[in-house]
Every structure is written in C-alpha cells, then in structure tokens.
C-alpha cells in the first residue's frame, strides 16, 4: 500500500491487541485490507470511515459464505442497520473468527448469526432458513418439504430441552459445546493469512505458479 495508507498509531495497536484475539501482525494486515476497501481520499481518516456492506461482501473470504449477510449485520454497529462496518467492527469480526478465540465467544456469535429474525431465539423459521443456507439457495438444491419437516423435528428433539418449540442461547450453547467440529469450523483466518496482495485472485495464482 506504500505510504499512502495512514499508519495505525502504536498505542492503538497495543490496545487492539489487548482487546481482541488478533496478533500484532494480523491487526496490521487487517488495517491494510480494510484500507484497500476505501477510496484514496478516505484512507486518510480510516478510523472514522464506514465501509458499505456490498464492499465487505466482495472480500473473497466472505464471497463464498452463505451467511455473509448475517455476519455483516451481526458485527455492524451502524445505527441505521445497513450493515456497513467501521474498522473496529471489522476487527471484532476477525477476532471472533480467529483461531485463538474461545469457543464460548464463537458460539455466542454463531447464535446471533443463525438468528435470522433477531428475536433472541431460533425458531422453526430460523432453522428452515439456516438449512436452506447450508444446502444452497436454489430451488433444485433445497430439501423437499417433508424432508425439511422431518429434519427440523429432529433438530428440535435433540436440542430443545424445555420443549417450547424454539432454541434459546443456553440450549444452543449446550448443544454446541458438545460438537467437536464447531470451533474448528468457525474461523476465517484465511482472511488474514493467505491473501495479502491487492488482488487476491492474482496473489493466489502467483503463489501457485511459484510453488
């Protein structure tokens, strides 16, 4: 990025290290990635600027993720709910998805991501949306209605302990804590490690050619 990007002040860097699970290197990289999303003039005051959702979603790491919209919504602190992100929101997101974040934190945020209508519980509609996200949005890839009913019935049987027809946070965490894959899967570290160039696709190809 050359010298055009404003550098992160030292004390702020230390503070972020203390407040997030990211390492120094990762924070610097995140800073760089974030500044790439802004236009040249905006880079001067990176900490005050917000990046619109569409730009965040264009990141290759989120592009392939079916929960991209939810992720933006959950981590955005924007008042009008448009999903735009400040640098600190961005860091928050990376911190939760980093390797070193505790699974406690991860399950907290996963619950929020899966709670599509933001009402604090996962009900049948949320689960249906979740399953559709997993199997793909297209009509031909969806499960049939009877399959979906059977599946949601099974999920609720397994996790809805108080039998109120919805899954709340503590039930969710209870289930998640017994899932061995969960913490391993909920990570986005490629965002920070694989890609450093301005054009990620090119960077990857270059690496392949040389490797």
């Amino acid at each position: 990025m050359g010298g055009s990007a404003s550098q992160l002040p030292r004390d702020l860097l230390g503070e972020y290290q203390e407040l997030t699970f990211l390492t120094k290197q990762e924070i610097l990289l995140a800073h760089k990635r974030f500044s790439e999303l802004l236009s040249k003039e905006e880079r001067e005051s990176i900490l005050q600027k917000r990046v619109p959702k569409s730009k965040i979603l264009s990141l290759p790491e989120l592009r392939a993720n079916p929960f991209q919209d939810r992720i933006c919504r959950v981590f955005s602190t924007s008042e009008d709910g448009n999903g735009s992100m400040s640098f600190e929101d961005f860091l928050d997101m990376l911190s939760v998805f980093s390797d070193s974040a505790t699974s406690e934190i991860k399950s907290h945020y996963a619950f929020r991501i899966f709670d599509f209508d933001d009402d604090g519980t996962l009900d049948k509609k949320d689960l249906e949306k979740l399953v559709n996200c997993l199997t793909g949005e297209g009509d031909e890839t969806r499960l049939s209605e009877s399959e979906m009913d059977q599946l949601i019935q099974n999920i609720l049987e397994e996790s809805d302990i108080d039998k109120d027809g919805t899954i709340n946070l503590s039930e969710f965490q209870h289930v998640i804590s017994r899932s061995p894959d969960f913490a391993r899967y909920l990570c986005l570290h490629c965002l920070l490690r694989c890609l450093t160039g301005e054009n990620p696709a090119l960077a990857r190809q270059g690496k392949l050619a040389s490797g």
Binding site: A64, E147, H174, S179, C190
Partner: protein, 677 residues
Amino acid sequence: MSEPLGPGTRRPPGGSNDDEVFFPDANYTSPSVTFLQELPSYQSILRRRTSAGGTQDRRQNNHGFAKPPAAEKRNLVEGTGVESEAVVRSIREYALNIPDKRRLRDIQEANVKYLSGWNQWKQTRNKSWKKFLDETKELSSYLELWRNDIHSIEGKFGTGIKSYFSFLRFLVLLNFIIFVLMFSFITLPSTIPQYGVLNSSYVKVSPKGVEPQCSIYTISGTKGLVYFYTYIIDLLSGTGFLEMTSLFYGYYRIDMVHFSAIKYNVPLAYLLTTFVYLSLSLIWIVKRSVEGFKQSFVREEDPFQSYCNKIFAGWDFCITDLNASQLKHSSLKYELKTDLEEERLRQKKACRTTEEKLRIYCLRLFLNIFVLALLSGCFYSLYRATVYSQKNISNDSSKMTFEGNLFLQYLPSIVITLANFIAPLFFSYIIKFEEYSPAFEIRLTLMRCVFVRLANIGVLLFSLGNQIVCANEEKCKACGYNYKLYPCWESRVGQEMYKLMIFDFIIIFAVAVFVDFPRKLLVTYCSYKPIQWCGLQKFQIPENVLEIVYGQTICWIGTFYSPLLPAIATVKYFIVFYIKKISLMHTCRPSKKSIRASSSNFFFLVVLLIGLILAFIPLGLSMTHIRSSKACGPFVNFNSSWDVVPHTIRGFPTALQKILNGIASEAFAVPFFMVIW
C-alpha cells in the same frame, strides 16, 4: 487515544437491536438455565469451562455487562471489584464489541487503583506475561512448515482435506526428529573414529562358541567387471556398494569409542536409541491424539445430536473458494438426505421379517468368508513371492538380466502393492450387498483396507523371519540363523524395508504422473461420453492416509535395521506433500462424501497407532529371540541384541544389579511392550 476512536463510540450505549438479541433477556433464559444445570452433560461442560481458565462465570458476567454498558457504570465497577479473578481474565474474552470492551477496560483500570500494591503488581505481571506469551506464539508460528500452503488448501477444500496435509507435515517432522536421534547417537559416533579423530575399538569376535563359518561375510557384486546397471540395481535395492555404507546395520561394527575419559558404548547406544525413537513416536502420537480422543469418544459419537452437529456446526467457515462452497453445499445436502434416508430405513428394518433377516445374515456370512478367502489368497501369494525372491537373490544374481534382477528384488513389493490395489476394489463392491447402514459401510470398508495394508507387512516379515530362522534344519544349527543365505540378516531386513519404501514412493509418484495427469488431460480435452462420465480422480482422504501410514510403519520397523531410513522417509514425505498438493489442486476433485475434521483426525491417529504397535512386535521379537549376526553389526558378541542390557548391568554395583536383573530379563522384554499399553 481519544482522537482515533472509531465511529462505534458514537453509538448510544446498549441501545442497538443487536445487543438485545445477543444477550437474551435474563427473565427469558433463567428458567431453562436452571433446568439445564441439572443435566450431567451441562455439569461436564462446567467442569471443562472452569478448567479452561474459569470462564464459566464469565457468561453470567456478560449478561450483567450487556445491558448497562455505560449507563450503570457503578454496577460494573462493583461487579469487577468483587471478582478479582474477572480482572485477571483477559478483556478480549468478553463477547462485546470493541467500544464496549474499551469502556470495560477503563473501568477495570480504574478499579485496579483501589487494590493493594501487591495485587496491583501481580496483575501487571500477569498482563505482561500474557503479552510475552502472545508474542512468542506469534513468532513461532512463522517457523511452521508449509503454513501458507496448508491455509490455502484449507480455503479451497475445507478442513477435512487440510487435516490430511497437517498429518503429512506431522510425519515429516517426526521422521526428521528420529533421523536426528539416530544420526547423532549412532551414525556420528561410528563414523568419526574412522577419520582418526577419536580412538575406537572394533568388535572382536570371540573365537569360543562361534563356528568360523558364521563370521564370513562377503558382499557380492563388488569385485570383477561391474556394469553400469548394477549400480542402478544396487541403488534401488540397497545391495552392493550400498550394503556396507552407514545406511545399513552391517556397517556399525564399532564397539567402543574413547572420547578422552568417556567410553561410548555403541551397542548399548544402538539399542537404547531404538527404544527412544519408538517411545518418542508413541508419546508424541498419544499426546497429539489426547485432544482428539477426548473429543471423539466423549462427543463425536453422540447419537442424540447428530443433526444438530450437522446443522449448527455444518458450515466450514474456512472455505473461501466458490467452487468449494458449491461442493460443500452439495455434500451437506447429500449428508442430510442420506441421514434422513437412513432413519427411514431403520424404521423399516425394525419391521423386517425373520425370513429376510435370515437371508441377510447368510449373505453376510458368505461374503465375509469370501473376504477371508481373498485375504488368505493375498497373504499366501505374498509368502510364496517372498520365499522365491529371497532364495533367488542370493543364488546367482550376476547371471541375470537387468530387468530380471530388478523384478526379483522388487517381487514382494509388487505383490504387496497389487494386493493393496485389488483388495479394496473388491471390498467396496461387496459392501453394497451386505445392507449395512451407510455410516457403518464406510467404516467397515476402511477397517478391511487397514487390515490388508498392515497385515501385508506382517506377512512379509513373517516369511522373512521364517527364512532367516529356518527351524529344525541343519544349516541353521551352527549360528542360530541361516548363515548361508543371510550372513548378515539384519542388513537384509533393512534392505527389504528400504526397497518397500522406495517402491512405495515410486508408486505414489507414478500414479500422480501417469494416471492422474493423463486422466485430467482426457477429461478436459476429450468430449467422448464414457470419459466424461468417469470424470476426474477423486481425492479420497482415507486411502491417502492409509498410504502414508503404511509408509510410516515400514519406516518404524526399518529404522533399527537401517538407521538412516528416517532421513529417506523425511525426504520422501517432503516430496509427497508437493506431489499430493499439485495433484489435488490440478488433477483431482474432492470427494463428494465429505469427511469431518474431528472424525478424520481421530481416524488418522488410530491407524497410525495400529501401525506403531505392528512395528513393536517384529522389532521386539527379533531383538530378543533371533540370534544377532556373527559377521556384522554391533551385537556380534551378544547372543541377541537385548543381551547388551544384562551385560551392561553386570558392570553396575551389585545391589543395583540385583534389582535390575529381575526387570531386565528376557521374559520381561516382550510382555513389557504389551503392558506398556
């Protein structure tokens, strides 16, 4: 610090919709929380949480913190003040966003001022120690081999395939450490004296009790006219000029190395290093798998939440590639569909008639007999091949043609590879008729393949051992082993292992270059229907893991007989990593049947452990029960390799001797390996 605050700080504290979602109303959750606390599984979670750094009460804190980020600062201050532990805990572990965390930290810092000097000091020390740990961790991560390669593979193909590559990396490291061990404690002490730097004494064969013909050891093929191709054969099969290099057991004939006042006992070091590398591998694998074992045994096979696992922990967020995400979608859908299907089948099965049951059981019995017959066929042909090649190698290798000789040398390896290739094909075909549940089908096929792979090595060693010991025959009477065929049998076993390893490598390379690559070309450039239907080679994780575990088992067995084999294995796995990576990236497609990261890690280590146990048995038996060669190697003066230990103990003070004698008997040695498990 006040200047660059992000826009997030402008937000009204605690007012956003998100926060309310995130911290569900206390009134709402509390009944279910108390209810959940009764559950045994919840109790175990509590235990785990507290052991992970006392994080259990953090959650309650979160609920407390969430509602009043700024408005009720006083509450927070009190809250943190009461629990001094909470202050010690890192702020980043709170599920808040950065502006809130910043506020919380300011409060905590203000709180610290009220603490006594000692506590204050303790906390700053804690903090700086944590910072130091973080930084060292960050630095050490740069030293990780293939860090970027593995991450890009993970991004493209998901966590399951990534775990295969991390496993490969682990084996490279393990072999390298074993190599360093063997090199520094065995090869180096035996090589240096030859350059006259240190004094040493060679093993002298004591004339009494040893027949003279036992100590004759000439290496064939070193004299007379040498063709170029014999060099190639020697290089590929470890004979000729390679036989007397430090690669094989026979080279190590030095008894004592005198290093100023210290005497370095080479035979003892040889034996001890062998134990060290075996136990090191064991400890390392167990240590690595402790986490996996725990997860897999306690949680993975939890039948009551298989659907929840698939739904809530189904998406692999590490995937960054669009194609991979498409694949993940379809594999998830496939998985869910088969699960639902299976459930329906199970219900159907419950109402199966007796007649049908009987039919299925008969069919299964018949097919299992068929499997056994197939296996014994493989084993018998391997046995015959080994005996044949062993007999003919030593007879008249000079008269044979290049191809004939090479074929003879590699006959057992070829038979093993064929068996490894053919048997799984049958297994995967047969399993369809046995009508097991889909999950069990995969597992059973895998277990059968593991059995074929590892049992093949076992059969090979058994036939070799039979040839060496040749029970009740005249020619073995003099030395305790077949001295005519095997003047230095340890080197011969080393050669066999060396050949297996080289051949395994050649096969991996050849399959990538001559099968996968042309197939890719055909599929890409030829629109002929059947070819398109075949499609690209699938990257099957279980088969690939079996392949490298097989290689590792050979390495473990062979290291005693050929101390520098780990070096070859290190180089081999290093290259295999790139071969596999390139073939995965360019010529293969990932299998639709995805394998979950947790279960695959567990599976890898279990198979590796089985391989290690398999290595223990022949090594233990040959060290204790077969007489060591009288013509070569460090154990010329001993009946068996193990005898070096009692011999050393005789040099100890008598009191110590008595204690150790009980332990160090031969009767103890073999059970020791069994009991250690």
